[in-house]
């Protein structure tokens, strides 16, 4: 029953082998696989939001506001377009980088480094949420509401608050998740079994939050 008789090669052969050899199909810790399944389902939620947003934006006959002007900030006496969102993007990417390093040090079971890197990741995530709060307050002060805004199509407000709010909740949950796991790592909760795969699982969630932001940044802020 080896793959040779199927005349498949490379990656296709490994799929056939994994599914047909009367064993667990996915050769990863179950927690990691469950996290992946959660992320795939979450992908569909965010996709529904973004597809719904695009549909609303295409069908409205009211003018769509200029996102780069709405999210501009005045810096050093100059109006810089979209600058806050750009900074938030860089912060989130940096936090993904520190998380990737934490996952790397999990392979060496280096508790101190894992803890510190996860803490830095959580702090960057918290600052992202803080900037989002600033952005929300600024827009609310300017009169943007879920049902109307002074810059154009009223749907702009509802989509903005829903999509960035839902993403912000994900970041907030991620920060809490990171802090809880970082503390458990430092306390040595995972030393009995020597299984540090929880760091990679937490990392998957965090990178996903970054991944979603890439799509929101492209479709909502830049489009």
């Amino acid at each position: 029953m080896s793959g040779e008789s199927l005349s498949l090669s490379g990656h296709a052969k490994t799929v056939v082998e994994d599914w047909s050899s009367d064993k667990q199909a996915f050769n990863v810790p179950w927690g990691k696989f469950m996290m992946w399944m959660f992320l795939v389902s979450d992908t569909f939620i965010f996709s529904c939001f973004l597809v719904g947003y695009m549909n609303v934006r295409r069908t409205t006959t009211d003018p769509w506001p200029y996102p780069s002007e709405v999210f501009a900030l005045e810096l050093f006496g100059q109006n810089v377009p979209l600058i806050l969102i750009a900074i938030m993007t860089f912060i989130l990417i940096t936090s993904s980088g520190t998380m990737a390093l934490a996952v790397r040090f999990a392979h060496f079971r280096d508790k101190e480094k894992i803890f510190k890197l996860m803490l830095v990741t959580a702090l960057l995530g918290a600052s992202f949420v803080g900037m989002q709060m600033f952005e929300w307050s600024k827009l609310i002060a300017e009169g943007v509401r879920p049902w109307s805004n002074p810059f154009g199509a009223p749907q702009f407000g509802s989509i903005f608050f829903m999509v960035t709010g839902f993403h912000g909740i994900h970041v907030t949950c991620g920060v809490i998740y990171l802090l809880v796991i970082a503390r458990k790592i430092l306390r040595g909760d995972y030393d009995k079994k020597g299984d540090y795969s929880i760091v990679e699982i937490t990392g998957l969630y965090w990178h996903f939050v970054d991944l979603v932001w890439v799509f929101i940044f492209a479709f909502f802020y830049l489009w």
Partner: protein
């Protein structure tokens, strides 16, 4: 055959442990790609060029995050297909959204007498009149 397979997956795990340089390079690359996509807005590219560039940079960033940061590159193909297969169906949803959107927009223009191309509103004009913020003219 089975031995070779396990050997390969072990090798892959080893690879996943070592490359600290890979993470740093991807990190810098994501910075550069984000900077480029920000430049698309800064230089105010419009129309097809804007949308194409946005999507290209977006897909590159998403690809690198998944492949390297989320370790998809080092996973077995069975897991990769389980992760990436279902979301491919979204292409159909996007296709339906586009065709349905065009139809609804046409209806609104035809039957509700709405303008096909409305003038977009500049933020500076609105806020300047309210006197909430002083922004430079000519933006």
């Amino acid at each position: 055959m089975e031995n070779v397979a396990t050997q390969q997956s072990e090798n892959h795990e080893e690879e996943a442990q070592h490359p600290i340089g890979v993470y740093l390079k991807v990190w810098i690359l994501l910075f550069v790609l984000s900077f480029f996509s920000y430049m698309v807005d800064y230089f105010d590219f419009q129309g097809m060029l804007r949308w194409t560039l946005i999507i290209v940079f977006m897909l590159l960033k998403a690809g690198f995050i998944m492949a390297i940061f989320m370790h998809v590159m080092w996973e077995r193909m069975a897991l990769i297909t389980a992760i990436l297969g279902p979301p491919l169906l979204l292409i159909f949803l996007i296709g339906f959204m586009i065709s349905e959107g065009l139809y609804v927009f046409g209806n609104r223009v035809d039957y509700m007498g709405r303008p096909a191309a409305a003038e977009r509103i500049h933020v500076a004009d609105v806020l300047h009149h309210d006197g909430e913020e002083t922004m430079e003219e000519g933006h």
